[in-house]
């Protein structure tokens, strides 16, 4: 199908483009910008006036809960939610059940996501067998099966010798290793160790639980030279450690989860289990440093850290609830809020959601240059909407952002040149265009 996206404000951070123009798509790729390629016959015109056209979002961490926890969500349910949120690529960590430590699981995920047909789902393979941190996983086989990298799956390795060997082995096959630094012993609590946890009597997780492991891992990277991506950093000091390592030329990148840019430990008031996350929400100084790190590029990507849950998982006293936030639905609008808060420019925010993660993954995508895969997101930045359970597309409705008033709604999502989502105008009962607010 040949599509023209007419009159939108094209923001393509990879090419420093921010201009009102037309975008021509043919055979699943960008065929022309501004003027059509020779002989282009339009099958479908999308009117994008007053809208922003950007590359489809790439989410570096989304738990889809399949296989193993289909009572929480499925690949199909979450791919549908992703499409409605302008997200075209989802990276799925290996802590599924069974664990992604053998090709058959990768194959299952591929088949399910192809059947859903609404988002690219990229699997991260396990670094160790069963993610137990004892024996290496068959990383070469996982790579052949299509894994885009290997990961600790949110279960940091305690045994430093096994970690060192896993990093060396991954480097052998030029695989990027995705790690989540959190000391399992120091990380035993449920809230940031600070004044709020002290007051509420919640067992704390000190910043050193993250920075200690991060410093150790960086020393191993220095010896081995392996490419490592650190996911979901939560502390100001972690941003410093990454910045210093990058300045020294170590091949390391990092990301931050959306909720760590908007919420702090103070939001735990009233023991709100929707704010139970790992790593925990930290202080406002940490939040500000994470925003600054994202602006400077030390943190190269912004992700949802999507963890959909069934309602029961959050219906218990704080410490008995499962950590995690359902984040796909609010990813774009909360990003736009960062731009409105002037935490960082709009083009930079979009870069951290598109080209930034694409580079971390080493994939061709995240940009809209001629010849690139036509994964695109079209959104109206002025649509006001209120986050309510009935507008969330994810099966998980566990969001601390419920009842927040946000701006910006996706109108179309294109995946490899196919329209996988198109917003119907009467869909949002609470929405309305506001004429005054601009991004």
């Amino acid at each position: 199908m040949r599509i023209v996206i007419r009159g939108g404000r094209l923001i393509d951070p990879a090419h420093h483009v921010d201009t009102v123009t037309d975008l021509f798509i043919a055979e699943g790729r960008i065929a022309g910008i501004g003027r059509p390629p020779d002989g282009f016959a339009v099958d479908r015109m999308i009117d994008a006036r007053d809208r922003i056209v950007c590359p489809g979002l790439i989410d570096l961490c989304a738990r889809l809960r399949e296989p193993g926890q289909e009572h929480k969500a499925t690949i199909a349910s979450e791919a549908r939610a992703a499409a409605a949120a302008g997200i075209t690529t989802l990276v799925c960590p290996p802590d599924t059940d069974p664990v992604i430590d053998e090709p058959s699981v990768v194959e299952l995920i591929r088949r399910r996501s192809q059947a859903a047909g609404q988002a690219r789902v990229l699997a991260l393979g396990a670094l160790t067998h069963q993610l137990r941190g004892e024996r290496l996983a068959e990383m070469a086989a996982l790579e052949e099966a299509g894994c885009i990298g290997v990961s600790d799956g949110g279960r940091p390795l305690v045994n430093t010798l096994v970690l060192r060997r896993a990093l060396e082995y991954a480097a052998t096959f030029d695989l990027t290793v995705f790690l989540t630094p959190l000391d399992p012993w120091l990380g035993h609590g449920v809230a940031h160790e600070g004044r709020v946890a002290t007051r509420m009597g919640l067992p704390g997780i000190p910043a050193a639980a993250e920075t200690g492991i991060l410093a150790r891992d960086l020393e191993l990277v220095r010896d081995i030279g392996v490419r490592v991506h650190f996911g979901r950093l939560s502390c100001a000091r972690s941003v410093d450690l990454i910045a210093r390592a990058q300045a020294e030329g170590l091949p390391v990148t990092a990301d931050v989860a959306m909720h760590h840019l908007h919420l702090t430990e103070v939001d735990l008031a009233g023991f709100d289990s929707q704010c139970h996350v790992r790593p925990p929400l930290r202080g406002s100084r940490d939040r500000d440093a994470l925003r600054a790190g994202l602006a400077s590029g030390v943190l190269g990507a912004l992700c949802s850290d999507h963890q959909p849950h069934e309602p029961d998982a959050k219906q218990a006293p704080f410490g008995d609830t499962e950590p995690g936030i359902s984040g796909l639905d609010t990813l774009l609008a909360l990003s736009l809020r960062l731009a409105r808060d002037e935490a960082l420019p709009l083009a930079t925010v979009l870069e951290r959601l598109t080209y930034g993660p694409a580079r971390i993954l080493g994939m061709d995508g995240g940009h809209l240059g001629v010849g690139a895969p036509a994964d695109a997101c079209i959104f109206d930045p002025e649509i006001d909407w209120r986050v309510t359970a009935d507008v969330l597309r994810s099966r998980g409705q566990n969001s601390p952002f419920l009842n927040w008033e946000l701006q910006g709604r996706v109108t179309h999502t294109l995946l490899a040149g196919q329209i996988v989502y198109e917003r119907e105008d009467n869909e949002l009962p609470h929405s309305g265009r506001s004429a005054t607010v601009t991004v």
């Binding site: 004044r195 704390g204 410490g319």
Partner: protein
């Protein structure tokens, strides 16, 4: 919405008693004064008041307890309520029933008050947010967060011996980190205007930024105990040794245990308190625990009056139609 907000109605009256934090001097004084007037009931021939006649109080104990549970039971019975005690630690939650299921089942039995003890911080508030509006929830201890009736009975006991809070200096000694008793007492004393609240413990038993609660920190009891009016010793759990928080009970006693020599640093008329049950020779010497300055058993007696007071106040506020002032 914060915990302080949910336990009050729109007129600022207590509907639940979940935490001392955020309450006013007026709330606390009302509780203490009511407790004072109820203290005499136990000395009567008929130890009963009709206040809660026809009401049903359910003790929901998700964590083992003897003393607290018993005093809550007695308090409810002396107010003529029907009392049911459920030790859920051993029953339904073990069978996989969720807290919410348990709650709804008991609610269906038409109760008026839940007294809740649970190992998780925030559990009583979790329940208070979900019960039917006519039910009052009293927190009998949630994780490390709060044990507000204990905090109030401690404040009550102190007030009986040292009525002038403006000059009051109190030292709380021991495992502050895990102690809901310490947190509730600290809040109560601050609201009542105590002059100086000190916590004394090794660094491993102090929560981070504890000064923020409005206390002064002392690592050395020889400094911290100097000149205080009341010494509150906290119970030291045996698990603390396994968690590498302390080397041995013996070393803790040598450095922090309340002996007659250490107590001599306090004011000559200083009182010695302990929420119980006490570990003799671990946090407190028997001679001090059983000595003339000890008010530990008086605390137990006072606990009944304070709990009666809180029960009558909260259920009384529930009975009053909305909008009517006390």
């Amino acid at each position: 919405m914060s915990t302080a907000d949910i336990q009050l109605d729109r007129q600022g009256r207590l509907l639940h008693f979940l935490t001392v934090e955020g309450l006013s001097h007026r709330h606390l004084t009302e509780i203490l004064d009511t407790a004072e007037s109820l203290r005499g009931v136990a000395e009567r021939r008929v130890k009963k008041l009709p206040t809660l006649h026809g009401k049903t109080v359910v003790n929901l104990f998700f964590e083992a307890s003897t003393r607290t549970r018993t005093t809550f039971e007695l308090a409810a019975k002396r107010l003529s309520a029907d009392v049911l005690t459920l030790n859920i630690a051993q029953s339904s939650t073990v069978k996989g029933e969720t807290l919410l299921d348990t709650l709804q089942n008991i609610e269906a039995m038409q109760c008026d008050m839940f007294v809740v003890r649970h190992q998780q911080s925030g559990a009583a508030e979790f329940i208070a947010r979900r019960v039917k509006p006519h039910i009052a929830v009293l927190n009998a201890g949630d994780g490390r967060h709060a044990h507000p009736t204990q905090g109030m009975l401690d404040a009550f006991t102190i007030r009986r011996h040292k009525p002038d809070f403006r000059n009051l200096e109190v030292a709380i000694v021991g495992d502050i980190l895990h102690s809901r008793v310490a947190r509730s007492l600290i809040h109560a004393l601050n609201i009542l205007g105590a002059a100086d609240i000190r916590v004394i413990a090794p660094r491993t038993l102090l929560p981070i930024d504890v000064e923020n609660l409005g206390v002064r920190v002392f690592l050395d009891p020889r400094e911290g105990l100097r000149g205080v009016d009341a010494v509150v010793m906290l119970r030291l759990q045996k698990e603390r040794m396994e968690g590498a928080l302390l080397p041995t009970e013996q070393e803790f006693f040598r450095r922090y245990g309340l002996t007659e020599e250490r107590l001599a640093l306090a004011k000559p008329d200083a009182i010695v308190m302990h929420p119980g049950p006490i570990n003799r020779g671990v946090e407190i010497d028997s001679r001090v625990a059983d000595g003339p300055r000890s008010v530990i058993l008086e605390q137990v007696t006072n606990g009944i009056a304070v709990r009666m007071a809180i029960m009558s106040i909260t259920l009384g506020n529930h009975a009053r139609p909305a909008g009517e002032n006390a």
